[in-house]
């Protein structure tokens, strides 16, 4: 169920170049159950910036009533957010959308998690849930450069973790797909989130296995009412069928929508 709350900032730190970790506290956390869901946050009161910003839930701590988001400062909204201090509050609407299905894999099966840049965060809670179930998890995380790398240790604590950087300053030089080429096993399913080009490349590479793909689109309402965030359905010749990324997604089954 979608709720809303003014949530308190309990910690707010820079963890990599332009990347911040933000921990929020409040009862709304209790509703957050599925990894891959996102929240829509109003970074400050008033009209500028006006719209909410969609940010993925990165990890959930129900005992402390806290959840964590990782975000990158890119435009006006995230710039304002980065200035909000511990103790202040931000208004959160969520959780929104449908997350990654954790129960798709059984104890002992193998999951491949592929994240690119700021698409990495939702994979963290997912990885925690999968490993709790006894699923073997392998992570491939892609970044532009060494300075942009984050959460490497956190992912390593859950399973094998390979890093690719485009400039080669850390880990394998190249894309996540270059690392995937060298995998020594066939995963039972993959889960991915990141830039559109990466999602396409990952879907094409693993066309023989089932995967779950988290999409992104510019949003208005975030709840399925405004039709800002639609994408086409794969194989639909009429070109009239659509899915809403905010409420039908953001996670789709591989082959379900046009990336």
């Amino acid at each position: 169920m979608i709720g809303h709350q003014n949530m308190k900032i309990v910690s707010h730190e820079s963890i990599a170049a332009d990347i911040y970790e933000l921990v929020l506290e409040g009862e709304l956390t209790k509703r957050m159950t599925s990894p891959g869901q996102f929240v829509h946050i109003k970074v400050t009161t008033g009209n500028d910036p006006l719209l909410r910003r969609p940010i993925s839930i990165c990890s959930i701590d129900p005992d402390l009533n806290q959840f964590t988001m990782l975000y990158r400062v890119s435009g006006s909204g995230t710039r304002v957010l980065a200035e909000r201090a511990t103790g202040a509050s931000v208004h959160v609407l969520g959780p929104l959308g449908n997350g990654f299905p954790v129960d798709y894999l059984k104890h002992g099966e193998r999951a491949l998690l592929v994240g690119g840049g700021i698409g990495v965060p939702p994979l963290y809670e997912l990885s925690k849930r999968l490993t709790e179930r006894g699923v073997h998890v392998t992570h491939i995380l892609g970044f532009q450069t060494e300075k942009a790398v984050f959460y490497k240790k956190e992912f390593e604590a859950l399973g094998d973790t390979y890093i690719a950087t485009v400039d080669g300053s850390y880990g394998t030089k190249g894309f996540v797909t270059d690392v995937a080429d060298q995998l020594s096993f066939q995963p039972d399913a993959y889960y991915t989130c990141g830039p559109a080009a990466m999602l396409k490349a990952v879907e094409a590479k693993f066309k023989d296995i089932n995967g779950f793909i988290s999409m992104e689109q510019r949003m208005g309402c975030g709840i399925g009412a405004c039709l800002a965030c639609v994408c086409h359905v794969a194989g639909d010749e009429s070109n009239l069928l659509y899915k809403k990324v905010c409420s039908d997604g953001p996670v789709f089954k591989s082959g379900e929508v046009v990336l």
């Binding site: 169920m1 979608i2 809303h4 109003k42 009209n47 500028d48 910036p49 006006l50 719209l51 909410r52 006006s76 909204g77 609407l93 689109q217 510019r218 949003m219 208005g220 309402c221 975030g222 709840i223 399925g224 009412a225 405004c226 039709l227 800002a228 965030c229 639609v230 994408c231 086409h232 070109n239 009239l240 659509y242 409420s247």
Partner: protein, 313 residues
């Protein structure tokens, strides 16, 4: 009598607040947040004869205190709207204003005739002001003669009162309002979005795939207010006003400018509870100001002090 009850052609409103077309879908999403029967009315998403996908994405962009959209009239088509969306809305005690769009006059006539027969549709809002489609929409809303002709034709086939939704993208909105009135319109709704654009400063290219989009939100309120102020003095038609409304003071401003009721668009995206919140705060405000009826404020921006039922300094 309540401070709020309002009678308009086809519409008995329990309060003057309604969500604006395209900003509320067909209500389902917002029904998870509150009881839709709280609303004065609902202006549902534009309906065309055939199903439409709309424009490519990105379809929205943010601007200073506002947003641009180029959804492009995406909707499931007349039959589906009748059989599913409007049917579903019947469970609520709220009048529906159906937003009608099309590419040709015949399209408008067909949709208007059919949709006006739905039991919960109490009025039509004829969208001659969509800035985001190549055919139809605003093409009918920028020439007085075309607007008059379209109004006449739609009036003939509609079984409920007809409101014409005016575009601000014209030299004289008053001229358009008068054309609608001559065509036999029962009321006006105004304003639709203002044509605008945003560029990605780095690439220099438009952010929205359609290149241009319609500007809405608090940024357009001064324009909308000025237009309601002008039009309400020149026509006898009731006006449902919209453009940047996000709190009860905005509502009071539009009523003071001459509107009879007010619609809320973009603000629903910022706060899904905004409509019931405005209704509650508006009632408190009227109590505080000891105003017996919201329409005691109507048109006071241009009336002489002696004429207004309520005057406050």
């Amino acid at each position: 009598m309540s401070r709020f009850g309002i009678e308009l052609p086809g519409l008995t409103l329990k309060n003057p607040i309604m969500p604006a077309s395209g900003c509320f879908g067909f209500g389902k999403e917002y029904s998870q947040f509150y009881d839709l029967s709280l609303l004065g009315a609902i202006m549902v998403k534009a309906t065309t004869r055939e199903v439409r996908f709309g424009n490519p994405t990105p379809r929205v962009a943010e601007t200073s205190s506002g947003m641009l959209n180029a959804i492009g009239l995406q909707n499931p088509g007349l039959d589906h709207v009748l059989q599913h969306e409007l049917k579903w809305l019947e469970q609520y005690d709220v009048p529906i204003i159906a937003n009608v769009a099309g590419s040709t006059i015949e399209d408008y006539e067909e949709v208007a005739e059919t949709i006006s027969r739905a039991p919960n549709v109490h009025a039509l809002e004829i969208n001659i002001s969509c800035p985001n489609v190549k055919e139809g929409g605003i093409a009918f809303g920028t020439h007085p003669d075309t607007a008059r002709e379209l109004t006449e034709k739609v009036k003939k086939v509609s079984s409920v009162p007809v409101y014409i939704k005016l575009s601000p993208n014209v030299t004289s909105i008053t001229e358009m309002a008068l054309a609608a009135e001559e065509g036999g319109a029962d009321g006006l709704t105004m304003i639709n979005t203002l044509l605008g654009m945003r560029l990605d400063s780095r690439s220099g290219k438009p952010v929205i795939a359609n290149k241009t989009g319609g500007l809405s939100g608090p940024a357009i309120k001064p324009v909308a207010l000025r237009m309601v102020y002008e039009v309400s003095q020149k026509t006898a038609l009731p006006i449902i006003a919209m453009g940047g409304v996000s709190d009860e003071m905005d509502v009071i401003d539009f009523i003071s400018a001459g509107a009879s009721a007010v619609a809320v668009g973009t603000a629903n995206f910022v706060d899904p509870f905004v409509c019931p919140a405005i209704i509650e705060k508006l009632e408190d405000r009227l109590k505080e100001w000891e105003i017996e009826h919201i329409h005691d404020l109507k048109g006071r921006s241009w009336m002489d002090i002696g004429e207004t039922a309520y005057h406050r300094t």
